[in-house]
Symmetry: D2
Subunit: 361 residues, 4 copies
């Protein structure tokens, strides 16, 4: 039942806390014989890595991934692949405030309510550092789906959206925002810098497109491709919304406007539009898979917030105030882009194997 | 791995097609000793039942639920509960057109691509009739969580939203739209009637609130309460988007605006706001759980759409046109409200048991 | 987590009690396009059906299987297949004794301890009638593995074993004991008849061989083919032991005696022996899969046994005596043979799909 | 679906190969707040550790377990617990022979058939070194079930059984055979020494008893306590048979002989006997759980065995001979005792949580 695992045939389990010695993932179900190496996985971790610009947290983590099992002579063996990333910059600081009171907007109170206590150092298990593990697992997933190209990018920060007319995929890696619109990237640099200096934070929307997914992946009715994507994306730290294709906008369309008419094409059907985001009835249609993910603003801000203390010996909580002194991302959605990509890869790899297992191809 | 099952400790599996003899659900993991009867489940099915107003499909189905196992002397026994609903109004009609070509926007093409063929009568397994089975299962789930009150209602149809100032829960059952705003209900009656007469369709947004959920339900990191809700909701027919709390709007807020400050209260903390929708770090906080779900317009419309035929003996598809003659909902989102309620109950029941199993309470 | 389900990619869930209206199975994950019909499944149910000789229970059940979903135009669709078998001979009798006290050797006390109460009519969910559902599911599983031939037979009743020199597969269906040795069958007829007349019961050992399983099925380390077989067989009512290949006898051999030397053959290796029972490291080797299953004597006997009552209003149990008046099998192992066959098919179908999913064939 | 995972609510996943840098387990679902430390887990690993007498393999592994996550201030946090054991004595030797041909009785051929190739160093993933990981996980499981006492011991080596009259639990830790009969231990010392010197091997039977298990653990019908034990035990390297209570001997008893009559006792019922091994209908009865496990003789022997080479470039295998030069246990069943104990703990911990989750206690 493993609540720290995700996937069916291609399945991974993560472990680790923000300030523990390491974190990692065990990938189970990866087909045998795929060429793999630590250096092939590292670029995905590097893309997510903190401390690379002033717009992300200044925690310095090399995020070097090690492969501890499941690989022999440079190829996957079909057995479980253990990936480990050591934490090196767990700054020793005074956590007594956070230990005694709950940071509003964070998982502190919820963890205490659930487990009775919590590892309060840097958020413990609820820290976004865990996403390094799924990005590593996502790197393995990509080996399973070489026919698929996945691209995630930020389309909106603090309500300022890109202009689709400026969309240039090559731009995405040229700025620290994974932004496909160079003009928006420039505006965001100013906006996020101001936010950062003010000790505030801001939300973002990430879009992810997967091209090359053949028709037929997805497993109705409770393993639908879109449902699995929704679960995967909503489970990323700070995510509050997920939509496929036109998503919430589709609720405002008529049936005629929302139709994706089909035409015969040389290699399968062509579609006049892709309102559906490449998924119908939970199954891929051969069109690009389109997902959009909403990230809330980072809960860590410098403005003190009213909150309560952990219950004292009489079981009573007291009013207090708290603000977050530690290093943090002013816009956690930015570094969310590589994580969204990884989740897309993980879901697709799983469904490719499922399709092969159940339907033979 | 059961792709027709949902849930972990409280788990259900559905079966059945639109035009088969029956459909049903097997509920596994329901605790023993809960009072249950067919008549206690029936109201939930009645709420979802078609043919009750001119705004929904005219297919006449009594949707009588039968309990075939797992109950003894009016109480659940702890073993698997089999629920069955017979189909009675599978109108015998000519399906030759749908058999030969793919209805755009429907799952027809995707099913063929996946399985090589499909039960084309009324959409087969991909029909929204399946939701009757999960509504029945949801009725069982509600027995497990008597402390929780769940209310789903339509907040927007075709872009016309309710006025929150008019919100009246008592109104929801007084109109055929599950609409909490009497003025909006009147406007929608006109709008949907016009859409129906034009053979068109329109989308909708459903909101669902669960109150009474204690803090501590949810299972980080890959069984998060919000991730499970996202999967459950996105898996409902015609759903294209899911958001928790402020959802996509949160992406436009600053950290200060999005904060949910806490104060000591007589029975646990009180919160100044609920931008988070009752979930932090994947765990309930004790605030109301708030989910919004976007339904696309029904794909079945009377306007002919360009589409393609099934491949002929030479593997070639041809251009054709298709429009949907059968009975259908002009706004599938309306009857989605009881289904959203059911999914909320199913997810919460599961997490209550999980919390008890892992943490003892 | 579904504790009423079994299997990974090919997965089934059963429901139903001895004296409920019906019982059944939902099969999920069956590949699409396989020819299937109720009449093709019926022979497997007929083989297990009670009341066919004086050596089995006299309960008269036609055990007609109905397919309610997942099949279209005579072929599996790839969606969940619902199988239902109605109970018709739930004899109305006085259960007050069994309701008030626990039959020793039965699950009565354990069910009460677990669930707080139980459906005491004919054993409720713990009745061996449930095996009809898995035999039906096993019939579907066989469609998935046409390359495999499965044969189960009784090799020992009450300590009287067959003579391997007399082994004749054709004999198995010619006697009411699934006995491959005609001489043993004659001896058993006398023995079991005497047991039956004495109101006693006797144990049995069933052996099952699957030929045609290619090398490579099985999923180390916690989905090993032998581990899954052990789980499947041990879960059959009245089973107390499972062994693969030489099983317990292998513990008495030396490494030299237990070796299965290999030789090059025209189509893969040949083996000098099959001590391993066709499985090494949890993976099939291409040799026949050999499993032996020990059934205890039926717990229902006419000799009164000391036992205790359900706790009274003061929570106190009292000494009493109980003997089983109802219809029962004098040797439950006999009808176990078709159930063992079904479980073998169910495990192998699952592993065929797994192998295809993970390793591509 | 994770084939390298075991358990439902208390679930672990293992990884690692015989000659990789490390091996480990991730334990998911452990309740929060349990006191835990590396030094508390170490004794279980020490009991299984090789090289402690001349009767086991001479590979020298300290088997130091490290806890990498899921623990804070000496208590479990409720999140995933990562356990790692480094390999230190992977002797660099010439594996070219094993790389080119299949050791009979080992998983070499099966792994190649399944995966297309294999890590041949010391058996790779199929090595019994993996059991160190489950012994570590078993140490965590024991924390969950402090009410239960588990004791595994060897009852038979090479056909030479202990005398039950000599049974002394205190004796088990006083000899290198986990033998409760001092006289048998002396005989075995001679026998196993002779076997070892002859380069041969010998099988064994391990018995395991768990006392203190309350009535009510186990989850019918496909999560039965005995079925889960069977799966867990059969999945241990070299195991070929599992029996519960009287097991295969029960097949030779009459219903009267096999009865376990019940009497009212001061704290629940007392039983006249325990033929059932503490489990009825898949649920614990409150009696001691009794399991016996058959280990085949180690397949590694010094006598050359006929075998075949890996297919050459023409896909053809050739006849050859192979014997195992490496370090190995002359009787792998001996060190199986701590592994059987661990699997018992793992299954029981899982069922305790399941019972709490489903039935509330």
């Amino acid at each position: 039942m493993s609540v720290n695992s995700f996937g069916r045939l291609f399945r991974f389990t993560t472990w680790g806390e923000s300030h523990g010695p390491a974190l990692g993932a065990v990938v189970d179900g990866c087909p045998p014989g795929l060429p793999i190496s630590e250096s092939a996985l590292q670029p995905f971790l590097d893309a997510r890595r903190p401390g690379q610009s002033k717009f992300t947290t200044q925690r310095q983590e090399p995020d070097q991934v090690r492969i501890l099992s499941g690989v022999f002579e440079g190829r996957t063996t079909g057995t479980s692949i253990s990936l480990m990333i050591e934490n090196v910059d767990q700054r020793s600081k005074d956590y007594s405030e956070v230990a005694k009171a709950y940071r509003p907007g964070h998982a502190d109170y919820a963890y205490d309510a659930k487990y009775g206590f919590r590892d309060y150092r840097g958020g413990g298990r609820s820290s976004a550092r865990e996403t390094a593990a799924r990005v590593a697992a996502g790197g393995v997933a990509r080996l399973v789906i070489p026919e698929v190209t996945i691209l995630a990018y930020v389309v909106e920060i603090g309500g300022d959206a890109i202009d689709r007319a400026n969309f240039d995929p090559a731009e995405i890696d040229r700025n620290p925002f994974f932004c496909p619109d160079p003009l928006a990237a420039r505006r965001w640099a100013e906006q996020v810098d101001a936010v950062r200096k003010a000790g505030s934070s801001v939300g973002a929307v990430v879009e992810c497109i997967a091209t090359g997914v053949p028709a037929g992946w997805g497993a109705p009715l409770y393993g639908k491709l879109d449902a699995d994507l929704a679960a995967g994306m909503m489970g990323i730290n700070a995510v509050k919304g997920v939509e496929i294709g036109d998503g919430f906008a589709a609720a405002r369309l008529s049936g005629e406007q929302n139709a994706d008419p089909m035409r015969p094409g040389p290699q399968g059907p062509t579609f006049d539009a892709n309102h559906a985001g490449g998924i119908a009835g939970g199954i891929s249609t051969g069109q690009p898979i389109v997902v959009r993910v909403a990230f809330k603003p980072t809960s860590s801000i410098l403005t003190p917030q009213p909150t309560i203390t952990r219950p004292d010996e009489n079981g009573r909580s007291h009013a207090t105030e708290l603000f977050t002194k530690g290093r943090h991302d002013p816009c956690v959605g930015i570094r969310g882009a590589p994580v969204v990509e990884a989740m897309m890869a993980l879901v697709l790899a799983d469904h490719k194997l499922l399709q092969r297992g159940q339907c033979g191809g």
